[in-house]
Symmetry: C2
Subunit: 291 residues, 2 copies
DNA sequence: ATAATCTATGCATTATAGGTATCAATTGGG
DNA sequence: CCCAATTGATACCTATAATGCATAGATTAT
C-alpha cells in the first residue's frame, strides 16, 4: 500500500473512469489499472465494480473513499503543521518573567504574540529575578522578561521597554502632597531598594541618581520585588525610587511623585542562544514596545 | 512522500537510533538514512537532529510524529473499515416492513441485528404490503419483512416467523365472553378480511379455515392493515380471523379468542438477489425466530 | 591513542513503476 | 446483423528509484 495508490484511488473514485483518471494523474491508463488492482489486493476486497461501460464504487469502496479522503487532508495538514512548528509558529513557549514586568510590558507582549501565533501555547511563569538566569540555562523557560540583571555571554538580551523612575513616599511624609520631587529632596530619608546583586542596572540607576545630588542613599531595607518595596513604603519604613509603572499599584499610605531628572530604566528579553525551540525566535522578533 | 517513509519515520522516532530502527524495519541502515533525508526534504525541514552520539526529534519532528502516528492508526482503521463494509458489517441497510410485522417479529430481529452489527445504520421504513415488492425491486429498500405476498422469481424469500390465527369479535357478539371458538361458530357472521391480491397466503388461510367447516365467509369489508381490521371489528362491523400477535392490540370493544384447529401463518424476509449491499446477506443470515 | 559506535555517502544491483502495444468485452450506429 | 468505437486488462520492455554492501567521517569512551 502506497500513498500514491491512495491518491489515485481518490481520483478514480471521483471520475469513475480509468482513462480520464489516469489523465488527471499524468500517467497512462494501464499503470492505474494495476495500482487499483494492487490496492484492492492489499485490502482484500474490490473497491470498484467494473461493468461493461461503467465503473462504480462498491460499498467498501465508498466507505474507504470517505476515510481516505479525510486522511489525505489530514496528511497535508500534518505536513503544514510540521513546517509551522519548524518555523516556530506552532508549539509551546515558556515565558519566565519578573513580577515587576507584569505591571507594564508583559500583558501587551503576550497579547500581541498570541494574536500573531495562535497555535503556540504560551506558558507564563512568574519567577524571582534571582531564579531567572538559571531557569533559562537549564531550559525550564525559553524566554525571560526582566530588567538587565547580569552581563552574561551565555544569554542573549534585547531591550523592549523603557520608563523613568518615580518617587514613592509614605502618605505621612512631609513632601507627599507634592506632584514631583528631585532625588536631592530625599537626601535625609531612609531608602528601600532593590539588591544590587540581582539587578545592578536598576540598583545603580537609583544610587547614581542620588549621587548626582551629592549624597549616598541611606539604605534601610532591600527586597527583590517592587511591590514589596511599595508596601514597605506605605507602612512608613522609608522612601523609594521605583519604576514609573508601579504607580498602577494604588496602595493606601503610598504617594507616587514624578522624579525630576529621572534616569531611564529598561526591561528586556533574555534567551538562551542554543535553545532549540524555534518559537523563541518568533517571540524575540516581536516588535518591541519601547516607550 | 511515501507511506513507507512515514512508517520508517515513526519507528525511528521511537528508537531514536538509525541502525536499530533499520533492523526493526528489516532493511539496512543506509536506506533508512536516505528515506528520512527524502522525507525531511519533501517537508522542507529537519525532523531529527543528529548529534554525535544521539538522535533527537526536532520540535517539527515531534509535532509530525504525533500527527503521523494518529494518521497511520486511522489508515489501518480505514482498511479494516473497508473490509468490514465489504463483509456487510458496516454500512446502511433499509428495512421495509408491513405494520403487522411491527407487532411481533420486527422488534426482536432489529434488536438482535443491531447488537451483532453495531456499525450498520438501520433505516426502518413502514410500507404498505402493496408497495413492498416495488420498493425492493427499485432498490428503495434492501430487505422486506412481510407475510408471503407473491411468488416472484425476482425476489428471494426466507421465512422467519410463524403463528396461529385468532378470532376477534365485537364485545357485543354472542360468543365474545368465550376463550375459544372454531371457525364454524362464525359461519353466520360478516367477515372483515385482508385483500387476496396483496397477500394470497394470508387470505387463503382464512378462507380455507372456513371452508374446512363447510362455509364460505361472508366478506363485508377488506382492508390492508390488521390494525384496521381489528378497529372495524371493535366498532361492530363484523368478525375477523387475524394473526395471534394482534392480541397485543388491546382495543376497547374487541375480544380476542383462541381459534380451534387454526392454520399457521408465516412471515419472512424478502430481498433482491442482485442487491449489491452486502449488509443484506448479514441480515438474512440472522437466526430466524421461528416460534 | 585507539577502538568502538553511529550516521552519511558512493556504487553496483535489483525491484518496481510507468509506457507502448495489444487484447477482450461490450455497446451503439449504420 | 455487422462493424467501429470505447473501455479496462494484460504482456513486455524500459527507466527510474530503492536496496544492500563497503566505507568514509565524526565523535566518544577506554
Amino acid at each position: 500500500m502506497d500513498l500514491k495508490h491512495l491518491r489515485s484511488f481518490l481520483v478514480l473514485a471521483e471520475t469513475l473512469n480509468f482513462s480520464r483518471a489516469a489523465q488527471r494523474l499524468n500517467i497512462t491508463q494501464p499503470p492505474l489499472s494495476r495500482q487499483i488492482a494492487t490496492l484492492e489486493e492489499s485490502i482484500g476486497t474490490p473497491l470498484f465494480w467494473r461493468h461493461s461501460r461503467s465503473v462504480v464504487l462498491t460499498p467498501a469502496g465508498e466507505q474507504f473513499r470517505q476515510d481516505i479522503s479525510r486522511l489525505i487532508g489530514d496528511l497535508d495538514f500534518a505536513v503544514e503543521s510540521a513546517r509551522l512548528a519548524a518555523y516556530g509558529g506552532r508549539g509551546k513557549l515558556t515565558l519566565a518573567f519578573t513580577m515587576y514586568a507584569a505591571w507594564n510590558v508583559l500583558p501587551d507582549m503576550v497579547a500581541r504574540f498570541s494574536a500573531e501565533y495562535p497555535d503556540v501555547s504560551l506558558s507564563l511563569s512568574e519567577t524571582l529575578p534571582r531564579d531567572l538566569h538559571d531557569s533559562l540555562i537549564q531550559g525550564l523557560a525559553d524566554v525571560g522578561l526582566s530588567f538587565p540583571f547580569r552581563f552574561d555571554h551565555t544569554l542573549q538580551y534585547k531591550p523592549v521597554f523603557r520608563e523613568p523612575l518615580c518617587a514613592v513616599l509614605p502618605a505621612s511624609h512631609r513632601l507627599s502632597s507634592q506632584t514631583s520631587v528631585s532625588a536631592g529632596d530625599l537626601a535625609q530619608d531612609a531608602f528601600i531598594t532593590f539588591p544590587k546583586t540581582t539587578a545592578p542596572a536598576l540598583h545603580e540607576a537609583v544610587t547614581n541618581c542620588c549621587e548626582s545630588y551629592g549624597f549616598k542613599p541611606a539604605i534601610k531595607v532591600e527586597t527583590q520585588l517592587q511591590q514589596t518595596i511599595v508596601n514597605l513604603v506605605a507602612n512608613g519604613l522609608g522612601v523609594a525610587l521605583v519604576p514609573d509603572s508601579m504607580r498602577k499599584l494604588r496602595l493606601e499610605g503610598a504617594a507616587f511623585l514624578s522624579l525630576k531628572d529621572s534616569p531611564v530604566i529598561e526591561q528586556g528579553l533574555y534567551w538562551n542562544e542554543h535553545n532549540p525551540n524555534p518559537c523563541v525566535q518568533r517571540f524575540i522578533e516581536l516588535p518591541a514596545a519601547l516607550s
